[in-house]
């Protein structure tokens, strides 16, 4: 009995182990399988596209936000999950090992996304005597630096205290505001200024209206009472923002937050809340998005400083902002308070002073002549030479103390003492290096300009339409890429710097906050261009030459050729590093060789690995459908015709002409109605292959050598799957795997009505010749594919090329190109000895393709004959 059964099984295997299914059942099973397969491919395609987008985002330096990262990773995760599900359905639950790998990766990614900066811990109030660089997490950059100036550089600063980040955190937490703030930020459309303003106003209102917890309020008032005891009753204070992360070397956050002067005891608490709220000013929100800071990366600390009764105030740069190697200090001074200098509203006197003793004034520009104040009769705006020397010494001392060029705000009070209000790193660019030749040579006037003059506050050249901004309404209408033209460089306009291509202001100078931010964004800017808002007309195209201090009408190409590429503003920010870290779990591909014993679920280390693995296995499952279901009707048919190689075709769904004799083991190209396969076939056959190119003895030797080194190249050990060239087709889908000689290539395409589903992908690997020759050829392939809009990636001698989301006619042309390349680049690595040969092949290939695309895809392939029925 057993023997009988054995024999029966042996001779009629399908009859016993796999009872033959009825055609309709089989077709249902096949349709289901095919739908899963197609859905898997769609998800697979989504994954590859999202990965490419994420990598490109990191590389390009375009700003991106946490919600971008979270959104992309979520989309990626759901698609990878779908792929695993579809493969599980295709394979009846094989590869269950993928689940634990996937869960592991999602947990790790979740942890990366959840990374939070440490919650600030410490007391709510710190007097200046206790503050220095070490207290930066509690007091913010600005106050930490000021404490350092007072306690270590031993210079005068205003009396006062800091309200710490711990207090701000407690304030927000006690009112449960964090979730609401985040909710509003997440629903904000960052590209829509109106939405940003609305969100900004709503959040600021939320914070300023929330009650301050009693313990913070008591602590502030107690410290204020201490200040009164030293400085006299009812002392007025300035309340200054001092955010963490602000004023660091790479990011200035200049003028992003609020400072309130002359605050008395009655308004102390309310003003404090408003300053904390100013973390969400629109320019601050936009700045953080541009520079890659999350909301939680910035904590709002506040400085409370006794007002300085300033006679004259200003800014010192310990080196010229235009030239970090300059041998002079730049001093700006204006009567009254320093705020007028930095918000750009007042003209200033400017002095360049040599860094060497005895500190001679090298240059001075007096824009605001001395005025006499009627009550006191004091001279207020110009500095005495003693004051200039003392300010210069202070600048050098602070530069020395902090170890980098400094940007210092100062005031001189009525008793003549110099008080330091702020000292921060001068984070500027070496503009002299970027524009070596382009000198401010007024005589070299070749093209007449529209206007000239002013001060270059940020060097560069740009062209765009004029947009004059006087009010918030002008601001909301600001078009992308326009030239921002203003009367005064107020810090508020900073919210436009991510849309503007250049800035022109009638007043202001290099010390204004807006100038600092323009330099940081490497946006060309000229300040002090008188009558700019009158001369320039809204909508007119102008070229701004913020090197030669000129404005030209229209596009001035000779100037624009000197533009420099925009900087990667995101680099090394918290958000940038987070994406970088997340990508290590996503994009690296470790599973490259399906033949390797390590090509298995437990070897997958990234989402890319999982995706690659699933795709490979899904294709195999589809291949084996016929076998598993003993499904002759849909099994492979050999393509007949005059072709140099053998090709098999499997119909997945509607890829063959209706009414075709399903029993025939052979098929003619005319009976194939798969649109993408017909295009590839046209590429394969339109220009006949002339056989292998002549191989020099050296080239041939190289092949023999490689064959002995690499068993995969030995045709004798091909797996059954790759031994033949297979087309898997449906009406709009085609998967072609080719093993011609020593090369392996895979073309896959789906032409959908939906652009998101449509794609062409191409993989190419191997070659018989040595590494150099292979690389020359693969570089040639890359070059040609890129001409045809493919996104190409090279890893060693493996090439991957993709196009997505393009209309069908466009993709059909690319498929013809691939068909051609499959046949014609075959084996040319053997002759790829020199550049001359490379040029020869490049030209021939491009000419051939040109011709190919001019010929119609044949409806009737005349070279073929249906003669295989009996074979």
């Amino acid at each position: 009995m057993n023997i009988l059964k054995y024999l029966f099984d042996k001779f009629f295997p399908s009859q016993i182990s796999r009872p033959k299914q009825g055609i309709s059942e089989l077709q249902v099973a096949f349709k289901k399988q095919y739908r899963n397969f197609r859905s898997l491919l769609t998800a697979n395609n989504n994954v590859l596209e999202i990965m490419a987008e994420m990598e490109q985002t990191l590389a390009m330096g375009q700003p991106f936000s946490m919600s971008f990262i979270r959104g992309r990773i979520t989309a990626l995760t759901t698609n990878v999950y779908k792929i695993i599900q579809y493969l599980s359905q295709l394979s009846n639950g094989k590869y269950s090992g993928l689940t634990s790998v996937f869960n592991d990766l999602t947990t790790q990614l979740e942890n990366i996304l959840m990374q939070q900066p440490a919650v600030p811990k410490g007391k709510f109030i710190m007097p200046f005597a206790e503050i220095d660089r070490d207290s930066v997490d509690l007091t913010g950059e600005k106050m930490a630096n000021l404490g350092e100036v007072r306690n270590h550089a031993k210079l005068k600063v205003p009396d006062g205290f800091a309200i710490t980040s711990s207090a701000a955190h407690h304030f927000i937490a006690a009112n449960n505001l964090e979730d609401e703030i985040n909710r509003r930020l997440q629903t904000m459309a960052p590209d829509n200024l109106e939405s940003v303003y609305q969100t900004s106003a709503a959040i600021q209102q939320l914070i300023s209206r929330a009650p301050l917890p009693a313990d913070i309020e008591e602590a502030i008032l107690a410290e204020y009472a201490e200040l009164e005891s030293r400085q006299g009753d009812h002392v007025l204070v300035s309340i200054r923002s001092s955010a963490t992360g602000e004023d660091s070397i790479t990011s200035s956050f200049a003028g992003q937050y609020r400072t309130q002067l002359n605050v008395d005891k009655e308004f102390l608490i309310q003003t404090y809340k408003e300053i904390v709220a100013s973390k969400y000013r629109s320019q601050a929100i936009i700045y953080r998005l541009q520079r890659g800071y999350r909301t939680q990366d910035v904590s709002m600390c506040v400085g409370c400083l006794a007002m300085v009764d300033a006679v004259v105030s200003g800014v010192i740069y310990s080196r010229s902002p235009e030239n970090p190697r300059s041998k002079w200090v730049v001093i700006h001074a204006a009567p009254g308070l320093a705020v007028q200098v930095v918000d750009g509203s007042a003209p200033t006197n400017m002095y360049s002073v040599s860094r060497e003793e005895p500190h001679k004034v090298l240059d001075s520009k007096i824009s605001c002549p001395d005025t006499t104040q009627s009550s006191t009769g004091e001279q207020v705006s110009s500095l005495s030479s003693d004051q200039i020397i003392e300010l210069t010494r202070i600048a050098l001392r602070l530069e020395n103390h902090f170890g980098a060029p400094q940007d210092i705000e100062w005031s001189i009070n009525r008793s003549g003492a110099i008080i330091i209000l702020q000292s921060r790193p001068l984070g500027l660019l070496s503009l002299d290096v970027r524009f070596p030749e382009h000198e401010k040579n007024e005589s070299e006037e070749s093209t007449p300009c529209l206007m000239s003059g002013g001060t270059v506050v940020s060097a560069g050249v740009a062209c765009g339409p004029v947009h004059i901004v006087r009010s918030n309404i002008d601001l909301l209408q600001f078009p992308e890429g326009a030239v921002l033209v203003v009367a005064h460089p107020f810090p508020e306009w900073a919210s436009l710097l991510n849309r503007a291509c250049a800035v022109v202001s009638e007043t202001g100078q290099v010390a204004a906050h807006l100038a600092t931010v323009a330099r940081e964004f490497q946006l060309p800017a000229i300040f002090g261009m008188e009558k700019a808002t009158e001369v320039l007309k809204r909508g007119d195209i102008i070229t701004v030459d913020a090197v030669g201090r000129r404005i030209y009408s229209g596009r001035e190409e000779s100037i624009l050729t000197q533009a420099t590429p925009s900087p990667n503003l995101m680099k090394n920010s918290p958000v940038y590093r987070l994406l970088q870290e997340a990508l290590t779990l996503i994009t690296p591909l470790n599973l490259t060789d399906p033949a390797s014993p390590f090509f298995k679920p437990s070897s997958c280390e990234t989402f890319h690995d999982i995706t690659r693995f699933c795709h490979e296995k899904a294709v195999i499952e589809m291949f084996q459908f016929g076998k598993r279901h003993s499904f002759d009707e849909k099994a492979a048919k050999q393509l007949v015709g005059k072709t140099p190689f053998q090709w098999w075709v499997i119909d997945l769904d509607g890829g063959f002409r209706e009414g075709l004799d399903s029993k025939n083991k052979f098929i003619h190209i005319d009976d194939i109605v798969s649109t993408p396969m017909r295009a590839i076939w046209h590429g394969i056959t339109a220009i006949p292959w002339q056989g292998p190119p002549p191989v020099s003895l050296k080239g041939f030797g190289s092949i023999i050598f490689q064959s002995t080194m690499n068993p995969n190249l030995d045709p004798a050990v091909r797996s059954t799957l790759t031994a033949k060239n297979y087309f898997l087709v449906s009406k709009n889908f085609c998967n072609l795997s080719v093993r011609l000689g020593y090369h392996f290539a895979l073309v896959e395409t789906y032409l959908s009505d939906f652009l998101t589903e449509s794609y062409v992908s191409f993989q190419f690997k191997g070659g018989a010749a040595d590494e150099t020759r292979k690389l020359i050829r693969i570089t040639l392939l890359k070059d040609i594919l890129e001409r045809f809009d493919f996104r190409v990636e090279l890893k060693a001698d493996a090439l991957t090329a993709r196009i997505e989301k393009k209309p069908t006619p466009f993709l059909l042309e690319r498929l013809q190109v691939l068909g051609y390349l499959l046949i014609h680049t075959r084996q040319i690595d053997m002759v790829m000895e020199d550049q001359g040969m490379l040029q020869h092949y490049r030209q021939k290939i491009l000419a051939d393709i040109d011709m190919l695309l001019k010929t119609e895809i044949k409806q009737d392939d005349q070279g073929a004959t249906v003669n295989g029925a009996g074979l």
Binding site: S39, A75, T78, Y81, E110, T187, A189
Partner: protein
């Protein structure tokens, strides 16, 4: 093809419902809206919708629970999840419980329409319609 979709938008934000209802209808789709899960269920009981676009945050229950409820009663219904807070875990739960896709707000109208079409294609072919 366009007229086949009877879309039920479920979201707690009236602005979102109104603008997207108008936009989709301008493109020739039939659209109804619901501001809560219970309202969505009663609209589904009329048998009218064939696509549900479901927000993850609803006033009466969370979107995943609502999805489960819908899928239990109408397993063949095409449901797309839409959210303002992208969350991997919510996304995975959504797909595991039968959502066809999990999309992030803000979403372009064309993208939403294409996702609805693909999702509807996939779900209906799986359920043999």
């Amino acid at each position: 093809m366009v007229q086949d979709y009877k879309i039920l938008l479920v979201d707690d934000e009236p602005d979102f419902l109104e603008t997207n209802r108008k936009r989709l209808m301008r493109r020739g789709y039939s659209v109804e809206t619901a501001a809560s899960c219970s309202e969505a269920i009663s609209k589904l009981e009329t048998g009218w919708p064939n696509v549900v676009v479901l927000d993850v945050m609803l006033p009466d229950m969370d979107g995943i629970a609502c999805l489960k409820k819908i899928k239990k009663k109408w397993p063949a219904m095409t449901v797309l999840m839409l959210t303002g807070h992208a969350s991997m875990q919510a996304g995975l739960k959504g797909i595991a419980h039968g959502a066809a896709d999990y999309c992030m707000k803000p979403i372009e109208l064309d993208e939403l329409i294409e996702k609805i079409r693909i999702a509807h294609d996939e779900t209906s072919s799986l359920h043999g319609r």
